[in-house]
Amino acid sequence: MASWMFVLSNSKLITQFSVQILQPLLSCVVPWLDGCWYCSWVTTQRHGNLGSYYRASHLATSLPLPPERDHLRPRIDLVAFMIDIKSKYSLKNVEASLAYVDDSFFLGKVCFLVTGVGRVNCCSVEMNAIQNLGEVYCSPVLFCELEVEGSQVATAQRLLRMLEICAGHVPGVSALSFSSLMRNCADD
């Protein structure tokens, strides 16, 4: 499967972009939900002079990435693994590719996005398996239903929020502390 690269750069504000970037990304991904899995990651990079942000999101279907493009690849801030709950194949491939991700990413820069909860009746992946995955890899699990438009937007906003934190744009909150917040509700 060919990998698909989608780069965007200009000086608009994040809030305006949050819908425009991730939504087409996610809606392009939906027709691929026929047993294939895909791995996408979104990065932000601060554009020095203008003080604005440009975002690049890369979409691929499998890891490891082809080594030829290594020097072109920007710093990756968040890796989001998308699992389709209706396809056991997607879960297996995600599990297989997790081995190719560097350990340092699991300190808060990985999250699992589970889509297809709208059809709980036809899910072939056990919820327990997914929760297990989240626990074993110490990463949060988000649920969404990408076939519903409103849910797409809401999920995109959530992912972008996480991305801001993982990229270090929120002072005082690091990716690691954030992921530990997400995983358990700490007692005082």
Binding site: V117, G118, R119, V120, N121, P140, L142, F143, C144, E145, E147, V148, G150, S151, V153, A154, T155, Q157, R158, R161, M162, I165, V170, P171, G172, V173, F178, L181, M182, N184, C185, A186, D187, D188
Partner: protein
């Protein structure tokens, strides 16, 4: 009364229309007398279409009446034609009551092949009501077993699906024993259980003894979920008979068996209401003749019988006297006013479709005061099943059903507000579906339902509610965070209100409240407050201290600070430093004012607790720990030092406070750092100081804040109070001792 009027005005056209339905001859003549209000310009072509349809239906019915054995569908085109006629009319507008007799007889007598019978049964969609006689005769066919097993099962499923459309159910109740005997059949058992569940009334319970052999059979044949449901209902009605303990957790008891007819029934209903807006089943008490009926309202309607209500009463009385000689029970359809409710409160018979209770305030009143567990049980099952089935993010096929689901959740919420307590089925639904929620669908309805989760001493709430909420909280927008905080504040209020009421009722009944449950309740409430403190601290950091968020957080603590005095709950939890200091140093006066008020209330509560302890008025079962007092003292020291004595950087003893050395402060290059946070120089108050200066020294254009001292300081305080800073006022008056009106200001903290 308004309600009566609408009933009257609806009644007349209703009768006209019904007359036509019951009068077969008028109908067969092909003339359909439309109700007066439905006079449209294109009436005649409609009539012609209706005529042709009815003509063909009539032909089909007469064919089926006379059909002989073993007509094969494939070879006989006449049969096919009539079958398709029946099916299409059923889908379009539903079948009239007369058709059911004929069609059921044909389907269940085994004359025709199974394929034909299946299609007939699947097309039995009622336009208005189903006459009971046809159902009774079909049950007799069932007993004779002329048709195949599959057809019998399909018939039972149909009966369950259209149960509410059957006009009377007296004879069906009389057939209870027959249905009971069908329990022995393994395949029919689940559906028969469901049917019996719908049919069982309180009076039936007394007759369980008659069916003892069968009863023993179902008790010992294993705990399938449908049997459990039936047994739990029996247990409610006659607890002495059912000796087995039933598991408390609810599962989905009855499989959803009404699939083939569900969509059809809804379509037919919708179509009929579009065509004749006048003909509507009666709502009880809620007169909404113009509203667009949606699926939920439809399910919640109590279907009205089609015959004249006067005859109905007499017939019922006759039947009852003959069959059971029970005291007459008051049919819920006739309940119109509150006084009627009071008169008939002891023999009120609840409808079998429990969902109709939700929109009926009279029945809700009844539910509130009568300790009939069966009603709660039935409502619990129905609500749990409905919520699970219609939940839109768990079943995405229901895309257009999202609006209806939202309305349904609104209805449930309003009912909970009316009853002032939460439904446990609702709570379980929330626990099951919150982890899968996307945070977007039906958001405000879900959050409002969260605020009605009942207070209980289970510790499930932590993992099922707090964890998913925290996940959403951290990744979502500012507005979502504020909504969650508001919902948690209402949750706390509902718990506290419940506690107060519970306490009153306990003291009335003179039951000694056990210490363990009391302390468990304290733990649950304390856990909630700690949770809110934790997420508030983090939210303030994530969102960079916005005033909007701080308002909601402080609103929560306004409820939490007064628990001892207002709600008689001996618990006092201070806000964490991550909430206190951002509020103290915030940039606007609203937060500061709120914080002052909250600290004042804390002080009042602590002082009252101390007095009670010292005077030993009541048996002291608690006392606030020294740590609480210490925490309060640290905060108050910081606050007074900040706002009044300009000494916060030295005096603040809180471990996460503002204490800083002079050398460090000098490095900031701020000239007058000592009084930079008092009520004149505080960034939140400086606006007021400027306005005050303009009024007091109108000619002076240099803003010389040091002019505000001595007498002018008092004027300044009055000025602030006059501008609505009441919280500041009560705080200063309670926590600050002023020695004299002289210029020397002395602050005294009242150490508690």
């Amino acid at each position: 009364m308004q309600r009566r009027q609408s009933f009257k005005t609806q009644k007349q056209p209703l009768q006209v229309h019904c007359k036509n339905q019951t009068d077969l001859s008028a109908w067969r003549k092909g003339g359909r007398i439309d109700p007066e209000k439905n006079v449209q310009s294109n009436q005649s072509p409609n009539n012609q279409k209706n005529d042709s349809k009815q003509g063909s239906l009539e032909q089909a019915l007469s064919y089926f009446e006379k059909v002989q054995d073993r007509v094969s569908l494939k070879k006989n085109s006449v049969l096919q034609k009539h079958l398709t006629t029946v099916e299409s009319i059923a889908l379009q507008s539903g079948l009239p009551p007369e058709a059911f007799d004929v069609l059921l007889n044909v389907a269940l007598s085994g004359k025709l092949a199974d394929t034909v019978n299946t299609r007939l049964l699947k097309s039995l969609l009622p336009a208005s009501v189903i006459p009971e006689t046809s159902v009774v005769s079909s049950v007799s066919w069932l007993c004779v077993s002329k048709c195949s097993g599959n057809i019998q099962l399909l018939f039972l499923r149909w009966l369950i699906a259209v149960f509410d459309f059957i006009d009377h159910k007296e004879q069906l109740h009389a057939l209870y024993g027959f249905f009971f005997s069908f329990l022995q059949d393994e395949k029919m058992c689940p559906y028969v259980c469901h049917l019996l569940y719908l049919l069982t009334r309180k009076e039936t319970g007394e007759y369980i003894q008659l069916y003892e052999t069968e009863y023993h059979f179902i008790s010992y044949s294993g705990m399938q979920s449908y049997l459990q449901a039936l047994l739990s209902l029996y247990k409610l009605y006659c607890p002495e008979l059912v000796t087995i303990t039933l598991p408390g957790k609810m599962k989905t008891y009855f499989k959803n068996s009404e699939g083939p007819w569900k969509a059809g029934i809804n379509t037919v209903r919708r179509r009929n209401q579009e065509n004749s807006p006048v003909f509507q089943p009666l709502f009880l008490g809620t007169a909404q003749p113009q509203s667009r009926k949606r699926k939920w309202n439809i399910q919640l309607i109590i279907p009205v019988s089609s015959t004249n209500t006067n005859n109905l009463e007499e017939d019922e009385k006759k039947y009852r006297v003959d069959l059971y000689s029970m005291s007459e029970s008051f049919r819920v359809e006739q309940l119109q006013t509150f006084s009627q409710l009071l008169q008939n409160i002891h023999h009120l018979e609840f409808p079998s479709q429990m969902g109709s209770v939700l929109t009926n305030p009279l029945l809700l009143h009844y539910m509130n005061c009568i300790k009939d567990e069966s009603i709660y049980l039935r409502l619990y099952y129905w609500m749990g099943q409905t919520l699970q089935e219609e939940c839109t993010w768990c079943s995405v096929d229901n895309n257009q059903g999202e609006e209806e689901f939202k309305d349904f959740l609104e209805t449930v919420y309003k009912t909970e507000c009316f009853l002032q307590e939460g439904f446990s089925s609702c709570e379980e639904f929330l626990y099951k579906s919150l982890p899968l929620w996307d945070g977007f669908c039906c958001r405000s309805q879900i959050l409002r339902l969260v605020s009605w989760i009942p207070l209980s001493s289970f510790s499930e709430i932590k993992s099922h509610l707090y964890d998913p909420l925290a996940q959403f909280f951290f990744t979502s927008s500012l507005y979502f965070k504020c909504s969650v905080l508001e919902c948690l504040k209402e949750l706390l209020q509902n718990w506290l209100n419940w506690h107060v009421i519970h306490l009153d009722s306990e003291s009335d009944s003179q039951v000694h409240s056990s210490n363990t449950t009391h302390s468990e309740l304290l733990n649950v409430v304390a856990e909630l407050i700690h949770f809110v403190g934790w997420i508030s601290t983090l939210a303030l950091r994530l969102e960079n201290n916005p005033t909007f968020l701080l308002y909601f957080i402080l609103d929560f603590y306004e409820t939490a600070c007064d628990m001892y005095l207002r709600y008689n709950l001996p618990l006092l939890i201070m806000p964490p430093a991550g909430v206190f200091y951002p509020a103290l140093l915030s940039m606007d006066s609203v937060s500061l004012n709120q914080l002052c008020y909250i600290m004042y209330r804390y002080r009042t509560n602590l002082v009252a607790a101390k007095e009670n302890e010292l005077s030993k008025k009541e048996t002291v079962q608690f006392r606030f720990s020294n740590q609480t007092y210490q925490e309060y003292n640290q905060y108050i020291t910081a606050m007074v030092g900040c706002l009044w004595t300009s000494s916060v950087f030295q005096k603040d003893i809180h471990p996460q406070g503002l204490r800083m050395d002079d050398e460090l402060l000098k490095k900031t290059a701020v000239q007058e750092f000592k009084n930079s946070f008092n009520i004149v120089y505080h960034p939140a108050m400086m606006g007021y100081a400027v306005l005050f200066l303009q009024q007091a020294w109108p000619d002076d254009t240099t803003f010389n804040f040091s002019l505000i001292k001595g007498k002018k300081w008092n004027w300044y305080l009055e000025y602030l109070y006059a501008h609505g800073l009441k919280g500041l006022k009560v705080f200063i008056e309670s926590s600050i001792n002023r020695v004299s009106q002289a210029s020397h200001r002395k602050a005294g903290n009242v150490q508690v």
